[in-house]
């Protein structure tokens, strides 16, 4: 489902040549999430830990009567965990009729970037997160790594 969404998103943005991203920061690295896939941004509260779950799953939480599975992006990207008591932000995403949210250090802004400025991920990024990224944008002085949300949320394929 989100594939279609992503696909149509590409099509739309193709038309005016611009792509919109919500940029988030995870351990000083800037990441972009295609805005069409984001439902909302919120501050996560009361996350229930799920025993024996994959370590990338922070737990489940209640978002206005909906049960949302929280993915710890630091863990997902194999980065060291945040310090105790540090604050999180959550980016709500729907995938295959299931609700998820990505826990990130902070949410920055919405960015509109020309489509053609997206480049394939450099080797360094590929080595680390090849599966999770769909490309990069070069901003002044820093790299914006675009996340492939579908792969980030697909826990099964990896296991297989």
């Amino acid at each position: 489902m989100s594939f279609d969404k992503e696909y149509s998103n590409e099509l739309i943005t193709h038309m005016d040549g611009m792509a919109e991203y919500i940029t988030v920061r995870i351990m000083n690295q800037l990441f972009g999430i295609p805005i069409s896939q984001v439902r909302e941004v919120f501050t996560p509260e009361a996350i229930t830990n799920v025993p024996l779950s994959p370590k990338e799953i922070a737990g489940v939480l209640n978002l206005r009567g909906m049960i949302v599975t929280a993915v710890d992006m630091r863990m997902r990207l194999s980065l060291p965990p945040q310090e105790q008591g540090a604050s999180y932000m959550a980016v709500g995403i729907d995938d295959h009729a299931e609700s998820y949210c990505l826990l990130v250090d902070s949410v920055e802004e919405v960015m509109r970037l020309p489509k053609e400025s997206k480049e394939p991920s450099p080797l360094a990024v590929q080595e680390r997160w090849s599966h999770f990224t769909s490309g990069v944008h070069l901003l002044d002085g820093q790299l914006l790594v675009i996340l492939n949300i579908h792969n980030v949320l697909n826990f099964n394929k990896e296991a297989a």
Partner: protein
């Protein structure tokens, strides 16, 4: 037809319906009609006097024909017409033949197919049904002829007329029909003008129908179309039905259900908040909100409820085709078809149920010939029964067929490695039968078209367990088999116990909870540690405990010292026939929770079945007790047999929990935990020494204590006592040290020459001897000098058992010991003779017949020739039975001759032989 169509179109316009809606309506109505047609046809075939049912079929088909006609569905219409013609022959009393009924049902199936295509494409399928129409026409002709020829003379006038009518071609009939309709139209149009405008649409329709009939019947002879001469009562009934029920899209109900679930959650949330606020002014409205919500919830659940009969509707049809395929005459009986359950559950049990019925028909019920040979009457019956019991529905599928052969199941189970031979000996027939639910098990070796396609009962079981149900069976050889399925009424909202484990709250479904026990150090229900394993004393048994904290990995490293958390709550849970305790920190309350599935990355965790929102808005996980039981290895089974038959069954299941302890000699000893009644730590001061040995006061009675061979109590303040009970007898085994409880898989090697030891096994990488509790119970009571059936030392008879087969040397002695004999084993007759010559004394000799070197006959002759031993009763064992063998045995001096597998026969002839010699002496 033109006027009719116009009229209908007018109605459509008034109601604001579109053609699509009309087609959809037609589809759902016709699908329902066809189901009824199916049922009625099969009923009619069985009972040709059931003309009312046939009339119903005719009417329904007629309606289909009519509706298809004005919707422009010509293919359906034509087929309906031809089928109707054939059925009309039956209505006139033509005998129903098998092939004609099969053809009719085939036509009905063709309808279904066309309807499916129609619902997918919005169009009738391409092509035509010429071949089927021809067959139908031919069949009608044939049937009609069959009707006319034998019954020419007696045909009533009415029949004669109807025959005349039948001579009209279908086209002519159609024309006639249309004409009548047109007349009716005209008449109605007039009448309607006179009618007041407020007549409701429904009434209009009803009057339309009624008028139609009048008009149709009046100008004509009463005979031509029987459907119209039918009293209008059924149609009126249908009209009434229509006004009291409406069709609702399934999605709408599903959506309502979701919303109600949310409402329940919100209500719970509100209650939680108010509870904290302590403001009485909210109480009354909250109470009201609460009760309304509950009622609403019930109401919506009710809309999802459907009688189980809807899932049974296809079954008579299924049985019919099975009968044809298998050449059997099975009848189906359905009891409790009005029992309602959730639509979702209904859908989920449909397939397992059909599978089991196929199984019963194929494997359960015998062929007519076999039935005759077995002295059974009738072609066999499969009975479906359903009823409510608590929050469950109990569904049973039974047949009066040949039953399941436990021996065959046993062989198969052993061959496929499900159980070992040692297990098999110890298992009751029912336990063995349950093997058929294990994966990869099927009793028929060949695959048949009807069942046994590799999808076995394990799939049935897992499907049923998936919806929180359970399945069991009972089977009696030559009397039949009954499968009993227990399923929850609904899946959406369940009642759950909210508990605390560590920092987390967790929900445990109530259906799995038997009772709740508060375990305290000084109470009767105590948690005890046997090495690292916990058990709970509950009434008369030790229950294995599962620490959820440990299972879920929530245990903190530093709390490995377990002495501190000896107190807590134990939820006694049951899954299938297994009962075990789940240890939790605290129990809050029960709550109605809405089960929501876990997201896909979490779905692989077997311990959770879903998650839900609590009243306070927090998300909690729902425990899957099945998953817990499955993953925590095996848990001592608890069933009637193991409870009471201490002396028959020593519970040597290779995966049962074993209690390891030190007793006497150095090797660790073991005993199945399931037969230990209690574990007591007894202060030395409470143990008294009497002339008959050690005793202690236990629950107001004296309990004999048995110590290890040397007969001396270990010198210490408290003694570990294992308490065993059998009936009203209770004895204590004073052990040196309790080592552990293990749940490993192990092979028990039966047979030991040492008294009191049943066999040995490698447990926890150490050779371990399995204690024969029977022996010690007997010992305790012989010490006590009671003349009980355990017998005292003097009355215990000794048996010399001679057999060259290792298998029987291992299998029989434990059985013999368990019924109170001392057994000495010899591998050959020559060894046995040596033993006797050396002065061995035995009360009975039990010998195999087929042995190398010296066979049983020669052996007996030898014994009988010895002066001192000529009187010893001898019993022959043989795999062969038959009078010639028996007479040879008698000649050789054997008292009796028993088949090797006939345990009971053996025991009773042993008993007889001993009582005989007793009387002689």
């Amino acid at each position: 037809m033109g006027a009719w169509k116009k009229r209908i179109n007018a109605v459509i316009c008034i109601e604001g319906l579109r053609m699509d809606d009309l087609v959809a309506e037609f589809l759902s109505e016709t699908v329902e009609s066809l189901e009824i047609v199916d049922v009625e046809l099969v009923k009619f075939e069985q009972d040709p006097s059931n003309v009312a049912g046939l009339d119903k079929v005719f009417r329904l088909l007629h309606t289909v024909k009519g509706s298809a006609g004005f919707l422009g569905l010509d293919r359906l219409g034509t087929l309906a017409h031809s089928t109707e013609t054939l059925i009309d022959c039956f209505r006139d009393g033509a005998p129903v033949s098998d092939d004609s009924m099969t053809l009719t049902l085939e036509a009905i199936d063709r309808f279904r197919w066309m309807l499916e295509v129609l619902s997918e494409n919005g169009q009738e399928p391409e092509g035509d049904d010429k071949e089927m129409l021809d067959r139908l026409a031919e069949m009608s002709k044939e049937v009609r002829e069959r009707l006319e020829n034998p019954s020419k003379g007696e045909a009533k006038t009415e029949k004669g007329e109807s025959k005349k009518e039948e001579e009209l071609s279908p086209e002519e009939l159609n024309a006639l029909f249309e004409q009548q309709v047109a007349e009716a139209e005209a008449a109605m149009a007039k009448e309607e003008q006179q009618n007041t405008k407020e007549t409701s649409q429904d009434e209009k329709k009803a009057s339309e129908v009624a008028l139609n009939q009048q008009q149709h019947v009046a100008p004509d002879k009463p005979s031509p179309a029987k459907e119209n001469s039918e009293p209008s009562e059924p149609k009126e009934a249908k009209g009434k039905l229509k006004s009291t029920s409406i069709r609702v899209n399934m999605d709408t109900i599903e959506h309502m259900m979701t919303m109600v679930s949310e409402l329940v959650l919100t209500r719970n949330q509100l209650i939680e908040i108010i509870r904290q606020k302590d403001d009485a002014s909210f109480n009354a409205p909250l109470q009201r909100l609460s009760s309304i919500t509950s009622e609403l919830q019930e109401g919506v659940m009710q809309t999802r409820m459907q009688p189980i009969g809807t899932a049974w509707q296809q079954i008579p049809r299924l049985i019919r085709s099975l009968n044809q395929q298998l050449n059997k005459h099975i009848e189906i009986e359905m009891i409790g078809s009005e029992t309602e359950l959730d639509r979702q559950v209904l859908e989920l049990i449909r397939d397992p149920m059909t599978h089991m019925i196929r199984n019963s028909a194929d494997h359960g019920i015998e062929t007519p010939k076999e039935r005759e040979e077995a002295g059974k009457t009738g072609g066999g019956t499969i009975t479906l029964k359903a009823h409510h019991e608590g929050g469950h529905i109990i569904l049973s599928i039974s047949d009066d067929g040949k039953g399941i052969n436990a021996e065959k199941v046993k062989e198969k189970a052993i061959r496929s490695g499900l159980i070992t031979e040692a297990d098999a000996i110890q298992m009751s027939d029912n336990q063995i039968l349950r093997c058929i639910f294990e994966p990869g098990f099927t009793t028929t070796s060949e695959v048949s078209a009807v069942s046994g396609r590799g999808v076995g009962m394990d799939v049935v079981r897992s499907n049923i367990e998936l919806i929180g149900g359970s399945i069991d069976l009972e089977s009696k050889l030559n009397q039949g088999t009954t499968f009993i399925i227990k399923i929850p009424l609904t899946l959406a909202i369940i009642s759950a116990l909210i508990v605390q484990i560590g920092d987390a709250k967790i929900a445990i479904p109530q259906t799995n909870v038997d009772e709740l026990v508060r375990a305290q150090n000084n109470s009767e229900h105590r948690i005890e540690f046997i090495d690292k394993t916990r058990v709970l004393r509950l009434r008369n048994r030790l229950l294995p405990l599962i620490d959820l904290k440990e299972v879920l990995g929530l245990k903190k490293a530093e709390s490995s010292d377990h002495s501190e958390d000896n107190e807590g709550f134990v939820i006694v849970a049951n899954v299938g026939n297994r009962v075990f305790g789940i240890l939790v920190d605290a129990v809050f309350h029960t709550e109605e929770i809405v089960v929501k599935p876990l997201s896909s990355p979490l779905r692989d965790i077997d311990y959770f079945s879903g998650n839900t929102l609590l009243g306070d808005g927090s998300v909690i996980l729902i425990i899957d007790v099945n998953g817990i039981a499955k993953n925590v290895g095996s848990i001592a089974p608890l069933d009637q047999e193991s409870e009471h038959t201490l002396h028959h069954e020593n519970g040597l299941k290779n995966t049962s929990s074993m209690l390891l302890f030190k007793f006497g000699a150095n090797e660790p000893k073991a005993v199945p935990l399931s037969i230990v009644t209690r574990l007591e730590d007894v202060p030395q001061s409470k143990i008294e020494h009497t002339s008959s040995g050690y005793v202690m006061q236990y629950r107001g009675r004296l309990m004999p204590l048995v110590t290890s061979e040397n007969g001396v109590l270990p010198d210490r303040k408290t003694q570990h006592v294992l308490v065993f009970s059998d009936g009203d007898k209770t004895m204590g085994l004073v052990v040196d040290e309790i080592l552990d409880i293990v749940n490993d898989y192990y092979d028990v090697e039966l047979g030991s020459r040492q008294q009191g030891i049943l066999g040995s096994a490698i447990i926890a990488e150490k050779a371990t001897e399995i204690i024969d509790v029977t022996y010690y119970v007997a010992k305790a009571f012989s010490n006590e000098m009671t003349a009980s059936e355990w017998g005292n030392q003097q009355s215990r008879k000794s048996i010399l058992f001679v057999d060259d087969s290792l298998f029987f040397r291992e299998m029989l002695p434990p059985i013999l010991r368990s019924v109170g004999y001392y057994v000495t084993i010899c591998e050959s007759a020559i060894d046995a003779l040596k033993l006797i010559e050396n002065g061995g004394k035995f009360d009975v000799i039990l010998s195999d017949l087929e042995m190398p070197e010296m066979d049983g006959i020669q052996f007996a002759e030898q014994i009988k020739s010895m002066q001192d031993y000529a009187d010893i009763p001898m019993i022959a064992l043989s795999s062969y039975t038959g009078s010639s063998v028996s007479s040879r045995c008698h000649q050789a001096g054997y008292l009796s001759h028993v088949a090797k597998y006939d345990r009971e026969g053996l025991i009773s002839s042993l008993f007889e032989s001993i009582s005989k010699t007793g009387a002689a002496a």
